[in-house]
């Protein structure tokens, strides 16, 4: 019986990254990173611009302070069982696309969530809502990657905080506790402070769909008290958000903490 649980594989000829103490650890599902394609090397998937944007943020953080430890740390995680052959293919694809700096984590289907917890992941990103829910049920903050972000910006990481007046999550859509969102948001807010008002590689955006301007005002104040000073704010007054999502171009969305 195979006792394989979690296997973290480093590429042998790459110096293993030392995980900084206060790193903001983000795990991205391999299914989102690569697009299935024929041939030896997988194509770039939905998460590519996100990974590039995260890379840009890290580089700029180091420019500001070469000893900065509160950076992003990315783990590429497989959420189902991966054969050895496929592992090699994933690693060579990662190399081919310049992603060899990131750690891989190959897990059995049943326990990719264990792997998330063991790696102390702060945020799990995927395009699969079932995966997101499973991770959330195990206490890991999850977010769905915006499918539109596949063609989105790669020079700026854009995170959308959504605050809506509707409080009840529909079944299967739980993605994290209030505290988890707050905690992650605060860390993003702190990271944002490292850059000036203009030309920031990280942009935090607030969207309120319902509830009018006062709802938006409460959300702004609440985020501010969590240390999150958003750059952009959109109050939709009930109009469908699908109209402007292609303009907002977030890489992923977080539910702003509700009152």
């Amino acid at each position: 019986m195979e006792a394989e649980m979690v296997e973290t594989v480093e590429k042998p000829d790459v110096i293993p990254q030392v995980v900084a103490e206060n790193a903001l650890i983000v795990a991205v599902s391999v299914g989102a990173v690569f697009a299935a394609e024929e041939g030896e090397v997988y194509g770039a998937g939905v998460a590519f611009p996100l990974l590039q944007a995260v890379q840009t943020v890290n580089e700029r953080l180091l420019q500001v302070d070469p000893s900065e430890s509160e950076r992003f740390e990315v783990i590429l995680i497989s959420t189902n069982r991966v054969q050895q052959q496929q592992k090699e293919r994933l690693q060579s694809s990662a190399s081919a696309h310049g992603l060899h700096k990131h750690r891989f984590s190959f897990a059995c289907e049943d326990d990719f969530t264990d792997s998330l917890r063991q790696s102390k992941v702060h945020l799990f990103l995927t395009t699969d809502s079932t995966e997101a829910t499973r991770a959330a049920n195990e206490g890991v903050l999850s977010a769905l990657l915006n499918p539109l972000s596949a063609s989105g910006p790669s020079e700026q990481l854009r995170v959308l905080f959504c605050a809506d007046a509707i409080l009840d999550p529909s079944p299967g859509q739980k993605t994290g506790t209030h505290e988890a969102v707050q905690a992650f948001g605060s860390r993003l807010g702190k990271m944002r402070q490292r850059f000036g008002v203009g030309d920031s590689p990280l942009s935090l955006v607030l969207l309120t769909s319902h509830g009018g301007v006062n709802r938006c005002c409460s959300a702004l104040k609440m985020l501010r008290s969590d240390g999150v000073d958003v750059d952009e704010a959109y109050c939709l007054g009930g109009t469908p958000r699908g109209l402007i999502m292609p303009l907002l171009r977030p890489h992923f969305l977080l539910a702003a903490a509700e009152e």
Binding site: L144, S170, I244
Partner: protein, 338 residues
């Protein structure tokens, strides 16, 4: 079905019927024309953005004073109140959207100001530096008012009626019960084709050209669609017997002459199915005194000369940076021009 919904697709979109922007007459107003922000702009110019944002947050609980677009927006709300009385279920109302490329740090102050003045604004976008034009298009904006001529030009290029507003030194009192909107004709409601003739060949040629082409419709101008939108709402009042006390009144204020060149303008409007309540043909006389009598909440003209003249007499005027007039100096008085 997933699409855009992220972690927070907690809405049941079938339960809430969202207003659809295409049914409303959407008016996008920049914070710099709805409110007076000159002091803050000075801080920005002299001390840079970080200091500007700090200043804004420090004064967060101090509402801004009304700007040049304020009376216009208040009048829109008056019309909405009357429309709601007559058509309680209808979405065909004015929808006012506040637009700024300020950073969201200033958001709280703007919202406090909206509440202080009892403005009914449910939507806004603070783009943190990016262009708002994409959002205006997405929301089917019918009119965009801004202090920034470049942004106005950008909007016009995208087919959105737009105009630049300025704060007049004095403001004459305007009606609180009736929205009054005045338009110049050429290069505002109509294209600038006739103005081109006048500028290139002079007044006589202009008259001849207009007479020869009396039965040819003029082409659309950038504000035609806005007049159309106003007309649709007016018809809703007429349908319920409120023609005489309609809370929307439109004016054409043109340098054309009633007996000659004005005929083509009227024929064009009629062919477009657009009613204008009052057409004033000045035959080249100054517009200021006439506007002072009309007291519109807003007057659209393509020539800065007329805008300045209107402002001198306390009329709130909005410049439409369109057409041949943009290449001419505003300070020179055109002899009996359009």
């Amino acid at each position: 079905k997933n699409g855009h919904s992220g972690v927070n697709s907690r809405e049941c979109e079938s339960v809430f019927v969202s207003p659809r922007p295409e049914n409303a007459v959407t008016i996008a107003v920049s914070t710099r024309v709805l409110f007076r922000t000159e002091k803050e702009e000075k801080v920005f110019e002299q001390q840079g953005i970080e200091e500007y944002l700090r200043y804004q947050m420090e004064h967060e609980n101090e509402p801004f004073a009304p700007g040049p677009a304020f009376p216009f927006v208040k009048a829109l709300e008056t019309v909405n109140a009357r429309l709601r009385e007559l058509y309680p279920q209808s979405e065909e109302l004015f929808d006012i959207v506040l637009v700024t490329y300020n950073h969201a740090h200033v958001g709280v102050r703007f919202i406090n100001t909206i509440n202080h003045h009892n403005l009914f604004i449910e939507r806004f976008c603070m783009t943190g530096g990016g262009s708002p034009i994409g959002y205006l298009k997405a929301w089917h904006t019918n009119l965009y008012l801004s202090a920034n001529a470049d942004k106005v030009r950008e909007a016009l290029a995208e087919g959105i009626a737009a105009a630049t507003m300025f704060m007049p030194e004095k403001q004459t009192e305007v009606s609180e019960s009736q929205l009054r909107v005045a338009f110049d004709g050429d290069a505002v409601l109509f294209s600038d084709e006739s103005e081109r003739i006048f500028k290139a060949h002079g007044l006589d040629k202009f008259f001849q050209h207009e007479m020869d082409n009396e039965d040819t419709l003029l082409e659309n101008g950038p504000l035609k669609s806005f007049l159309e939108a106003l007309g649709k709402l007016q018809k809703k009042f007429y349908a319920k017997g409120h023609r005489l006390d309609c809370p929307i009144r439109t004016f054409l204020v043109t340098a054309r002459s009633a007996a000659s060149s004005g005929i083509r303008a009227l024929k064009t409007l009629r062919a477009w199915g657009l009613e204008i309540d009052e057409a004033l043909f000045l035959a080249g006389a100054p517009k200021g005194p006439m506007l002072e009598k009309i007291r519109p909440h807003i007057y659209f003209d393509d020539q800065m000369f007329h805008i300045e003249g209107a402002a001198e007499m306390g009329t709130i005027a909005a410049h439409v940076p369109y057409g041949i007039a943009q290449h001419h100096n505003s300070r020179k008085k055109p002899a009996g021009g359009t």
